[in-house]
Point group: C5
Chain length 380, copies 5
Amino acid sequence: MARKLRRALKVVTKTFEDEFHHQPGTLPGTIIIDADAPAPIIFLIDYNQTNFTREQIATPEECIPYLEMETISWVDVQGLGSQDILQRLGRVFDLHPLVLEDVVNVPERPKTEDYEDQLLFIARMVVPKERTCGFYSEQVSLILGKNYLLTVQEEPEHDCFEPVRSRIEKAKGIIRSQKADYLTYALLDAIIDGYFPVLELYGERIEELEEEVIVKPTPQTLQSIYQIRRELLQLRRAIWPQRDAINSLIRDGSDLISEDVRIYLRDCYDHTVQVMDMVETYRELASGLMDVYLSAVSNKMNEIMKVLTVVSSIFIPLTFVAGIYGMNFNTEKSPYNMPELNWYWGYPMCLGIMVAIALCLLLFFWRRGWLQNSVPTKRN
Amino acid sequence: MARKLRRALKVVTKTFEDEFHHQPGTLPGTIIIDADAPAPIIFLIDYNQTNFTREQIATPEECIPYLEMETISWVDVQGLGSQDILQRLGRVFDLHPLVLEDVVNVPERPKTEDYEDQLLFIARMVVPKERTCGFYSEQVSLILGKNYLLTVQEEPEHDCFEPVRSRIEKAKGIIRSQKADYLTYALLDAIIDGYFPVLELYGERIEELEEEVIVKPTPQTLQSIYQIRRELLQLRRAIWPQRDAINSLIRDGSDLISEDVRIYLRDCYDHTVQVMDMVETYRELASGLMDVYLSAVSNKMNEIMKVLTVVSSIFIPLTFVAGIYGMNFNTEKSPYNMPELNWYWGYPMCLGIMVAIALCLLLFFWRRGWLQNSVPTKRN
Amino acid sequence: MARKLRRALKVVTKTFEDEFHHQPGTLPGTIIIDADAPAPIIFLIDYNQTNFTREQIATPEECIPYLEMETISWVDVQGLGSQDILQRLGRVFDLHPLVLEDVVNVPERPKTEDYEDQLLFIARMVVPKERTCGFYSEQVSLILGKNYLLTVQEEPEHDCFEPVRSRIEKAKGIIRSQKADYLTYALLDAIIDGYFPVLELYGERIEELEEEVIVKPTPQTLQSIYQIRRELLQLRRAIWPQRDAINSLIRDGSDLISEDVRIYLRDCYDHTVQVMDMVETYRELASGLMDVYLSAVSNKMNEIMKVLTVVSSIFIPLTFVAGIYGMNFNTEKSPYNMPELNWYWGYPMCLGIMVAIALCLLLFFWRRGWLQNSVPTKRN
Amino acid sequence: MARKLRRALKVVTKTFEDEFHHQPGTLPGTIIIDADAPAPIIFLIDYNQTNFTREQIATPEECIPYLEMETISWVDVQGLGSQDILQRLGRVFDLHPLVLEDVVNVPERPKTEDYEDQLLFIARMVVPKERTCGFYSEQVSLILGKNYLLTVQEEPEHDCFEPVRSRIEKAKGIIRSQKADYLTYALLDAIIDGYFPVLELYGERIEELEEEVIVKPTPQTLQSIYQIRRELLQLRRAIWPQRDAINSLIRDGSDLISEDVRIYLRDCYDHTVQVMDMVETYRELASGLMDVYLSAVSNKMNEIMKVLTVVSSIFIPLTFVAGIYGMNFNTEKSPYNMPELNWYWGYPMCLGIMVAIALCLLLFFWRRGWLQNSVPTKRN
Amino acid sequence: MARKLRRALKVVTKTFEDEFHHQPGTLPGTIIIDADAPAPIIFLIDYNQTNFTREQIATPEECIPYLEMETISWVDVQGLGSQDILQRLGRVFDLHPLVLEDVVNVPERPKTEDYEDQLLFIARMVVPKERTCGFYSEQVSLILGKNYLLTVQEEPEHDCFEPVRSRIEKAKGIIRSQKADYLTYALLDAIIDGYFPVLELYGERIEELEEEVIVKPTPQTLQSIYQIRRELLQLRRAIWPQRDAINSLIRDGSDLISEDVRIYLRDCYDHTVQVMDMVETYRELASGLMDVYLSAVSNKMNEIMKVLTVVSSIFIPLTFVAGIYGMNFNTEKSPYNMPELNWYWGYPMCLGIMVAIALCLLLFFWRRGWLQNSVPTKRN
């Protein structure tokens, strides 16, 4: 079982293991490629109110003609596994070396950075795992320029942008008539909304644990609570800076974001705050569950001790009585030596005394309420 | 019993289950109708200092003539179960798509939003449950226009606006001579005042638990404490943003709110802070109760252990003495082999030794205070 | 005992029971008279540098001539039991309906409100109970006008203004040469200083509990700690908003408060902060005491378990040895069947083995330190 | 032992007992002389770059000629035991009544107050106790005027100003060439630096307790941890407001403090923050120690229970086996009645069964790891 | 074992022991040389875009010619063991006495100080220990002048600047073409990045403990958790003020820092915040582990108690039955005296009763789930 446990822990803690690859003292702007990072795939969507192009391109340079047009170009890079492509991307979009470093050297803390004619927004996207309570988490960097949006995702799987792509393709809503800033909003909104299904899973898991912790607390329950606290801590680390980043987008945002889109971003900000509220609420619930667990374990111990105490306290005195009449004092030497052994009603009387003692003790325990079963058992 | 428990938990946690139906990546402004949402009922109250109309109307368009008059119109929609009616409502009142989304896609975090000629206030209304400690909670959106107020409630039951309606009808106080902003204040005030009876219930429940936890702590007590903490957490989540929303109403409010009404809103704000204070106080009390519970369980265990220890420590040595004289050493083979068995006073002496041992141990335990009953029992 | 306990709790929690009588949706400015509120008594003190009048008056209207004079008039209303008198009072002093509501509908959160030519200050006054650790708490509203001060107290008993009255009467200090704002300061100062004796009681009670919790922790100790935490929570709720209120009096105060008096109020503010500091310190101490209590109970359990373990572990093996030689194997059937029973030194050897076992175990326990008494008992 | 404990507690808590002597409603500016306050002793140091005078003076009026000179006069009053002298002092230095009250009515919260041509700084000085872990604490008020500094200490003992006096006397450093503001800085710096040796004591004490709590936790350990938390709480209450006071000295300070001295005060502020950091760190460590203590006590209980369980679980079954063959069924009545008693190998077989049972159980316990000693004992 | 423990604690706590050597009342600007501080070694790197010099120099005065040139001079002093050299250094670089004091009197809190033509930055550098979880920590002071940077390290070992030195030497990146402010940034960046490997160690250690605490909690686990909390507390104390210092460098920085470098510093600030985030996360995890530990210990106790209870509860009643038939009532005196002893099926019936009792009890315990093994043992 411990092996299963260890494996379970592995999965949980993987996110932490992967976390750091900063090398102290490296050149600022250095791009470090993780050995097992997937090779980048580049998708391009180019649209205006009337036209729409969607294609996968092989090299960053293929974007250039689209960028030079007045249409909105959304270049979506998925995967960080090639230093060459990333550096060419940097040249095509004219990225500041620090921008490129932030985009590539994941994980970076969510934030907004304003570089004159570009706006960098680093976000963290979460996607719920199927069948278990947990989530995949990956960094998405959005670089907003005058009429383009460059997004860079850590890996090609697990992406919550599909509804946005389909809205563009099918020209649903106003998205086709808006600029790149509205596209940025739409993606941010999709990222934030992606937290709700994940939180829903935790809400359900906490409900299950609430019942488990009262009805049948086991060491596995304890571990689950700890695991949930840990994962909520991670969610919290992801969502708090995101709130600040969106806020600074609304308030200090450059000219790249229009007033109209700011109203939409305000709505997105409200959702972020709602996510934060829920994370904090769940954290409090999980931490309350820990207290309940400890109390429930103590309650269980009380139950165990009661059984031991009741059984021992009743039978030990009885055994003592039996022990007395098992002594071998010589009844022939003196009339005081255990005359009871020779009485006609000796044995029934002895049994009667034992029953009387047992009843007294049972009464004593019953009045204390120790004979009632006060812990909910798993059967009823 | 566990089944009852499960059912109880269901009720508590329902509010959480219902909470999320955001679909990541959906179009902003999308209206999602919950399958079991009740069909909307529309009430209209139209009044000025001299006239008063109160009627139920079938379609949103019936409001239009009232809205065009100078009188104050209060349109109260109860229930979110029809996409068609809600969208027509949006057109009649000329609502921004985000406003409609916030109003319909419950739950939204309480907030104030300023849309040029409209002011959106999202509030959360609570109504105490009869006979148990708990509350119904529903979202109320108030949209204040120049001479109208549109309110949208989640469901038609449980509404704390009746006193306001009757004040308008009977022209009690100054309400008939005031504008729609005063009506907004009156409803907000009713919503905030609605928290007090709910809190009163929790105050009483905590008092009951305070006695229970000391006098007779059971696992059910533990569960009640956890449940109260959980529900207070929900109240807290509802009231904190409400405070901010009222505050921003007072400070940044548009022209739609007059200086006079702002003085009234300040009073409403004070009540909100008072509710928050009480919620926080109750949360601290409930969390203190958890500590007390844990200590009380430990105390109970001490009591159990004391009984076991006293009984065992007295009878185990006595049984040993009886065991010695139950040995079968052959007294005929040697004068050293249990000569006591053949003594004239052997048996009385043996009993005497036993009584002496028991008394010594009782004295020892009495001096330690272990014979006194220190846990309050349920009878006296 | 539980009955006593219940009664004790009643007293503690009364403050909470009394707390709410807001009726959701009532007319703003509504005066609600509590059924058991004492009838109001009105005292008037009118003075300037040379003259002094002090009398009890029957109706609010008797104040009018004094108010029209240039002298300082202090009207002190004690008790909230008559709607008629309170409303006439409102007319005499020309109070805003919300002021009257705040004054009458206790409890209101301490605050400062500025109404053009009047300044409302709501304070909470505490008076220590005699002989026990606790306090009476009542709301005092101060309404400062140009040359008058109206104070409204919840009830006529327990008032800490007597020294101020006597200072006015005997013209001690500078009070007779000052305006109504200085009188306001003097009363606020008396209210804040009234917290110190109450806190002193809690300081002493905490000291007692510190000894009790280490030397002889009982369930009553636990309850006392919880009670103190609860009452400190109430004090905290009273003093925190008072600080903010005094602060806003100093900073945003209207023309009604002169620069000189502001310096005095700054001093009063410092005392409020000192009270808050002490409340927080006591709260931390009380919460630390809870931890100590839990540890002390665990220590006591350790002691109990040690006794049980030492006694059981010594006598159970001995009883086993005695049990062996109590077996009835037939020594005549075989030389291997319990030959010890027929040995010459059989019984002494058997006893010797028992003593040896007991000594070994005692040595084992002594080296573990389990034979020393490590919990302070109540006798020495 | 409990008596010693009580005495120990007395000493610790004395600081709290002494704390309040505010009489509610007393005249502002009232000087209250504590009965056991030591009589004031007045020292005067007068210096400029060339001259130096140091003498003890009998009456405040003797300062006047020095104050009228251009030299820097430092008047140091030690002890608050005479109302007459303190009031004459107030007249000589022309103190505001509230200043005199703050200076005399100890304890006052550390703060800076600006009175046109005077600056009041209230500080709290700590001096480590010899041989034990603890500190003396006394209030020092510094009143800075144009070319003088008046300092008032609670009592003549324990003063950390000697190095400053000697620096002035021996003209070490730049102090003789500076104004009174530099002297103020020098004294404040000495006061803040005085916290470091006290904290060092607590650091050492915490280290000792860290070992004690793991190796040999006793109830005395628990008490020591609580005591340290309590005293750190006091230090915290002293140092937090001091930081604010120094900060407001730097930022809002009057003309009495030159730009150059402000740079020095900034350094002093940094040290104050460092003290605060250390107090907070120690508080966290002490509170962590409490958790460790509770866990260590639980561990110890586990050890005790293991011994009881191992011994009982092995010998109780064995005793049962012995009990069986101690029964007196009549072997002559039937061949089924305990034929083992008459077997040739009966007794050895019975002993063999016992040994086998014991070994099985030992194996069971050994595999669970209950036979290993896992609590560090005090000997090795 | 306790000795090992003590030694381990020594190492942990050493950082605290070393912490304070402030002497209350010493002259500001006093340099105090620690007896065991290593003698200073001075390295000089002088470079511009074309030239590069790197040498070890013997006296501070040898820097002067380099300082007078237009090239960038980086003087790196390692070790604080000579008062003479440090004071000459102060004269060469024209340091304010307070700067020298801050640099030499370690530890000082990380901070930025602006002295007209110099900028002092105090930082704390950490270097992970090999093979164990821990870190060396030392203070680094950076004094930035117009075209030089003076760095002072506490000791010559453990320095994370080597990559920067090599970047200068090999002219990698833009460092050779930048001013001294960029060099300052590069070093600060190296210092902050140095925290990541240390945190990685703690992340791994926490993961190990997470498994240990569930699978096999021992007192050593408890100690490890406490130690980690303690060391994270130290990291936190180092990193928090560093964040403020970098922030004030970005915002209030003097002319010595160019706009371009400020963008780089912003990046460095983000990394500092990320370090802080991780420290806080680890602190929460470690504190959660403490709760889990306590619960795991309670679980273990439950296991122990279950074994004791099951064994005792089964065998004590059986022993009682055996005891009954071991009594010596004389069967010849009466037909009621233990007739069972003479029955033909007496003994088998007695054994049958015993088996039946045992089975009933086993069933009872099995239904309670006490026979299952619920604590993960170390073997499987």
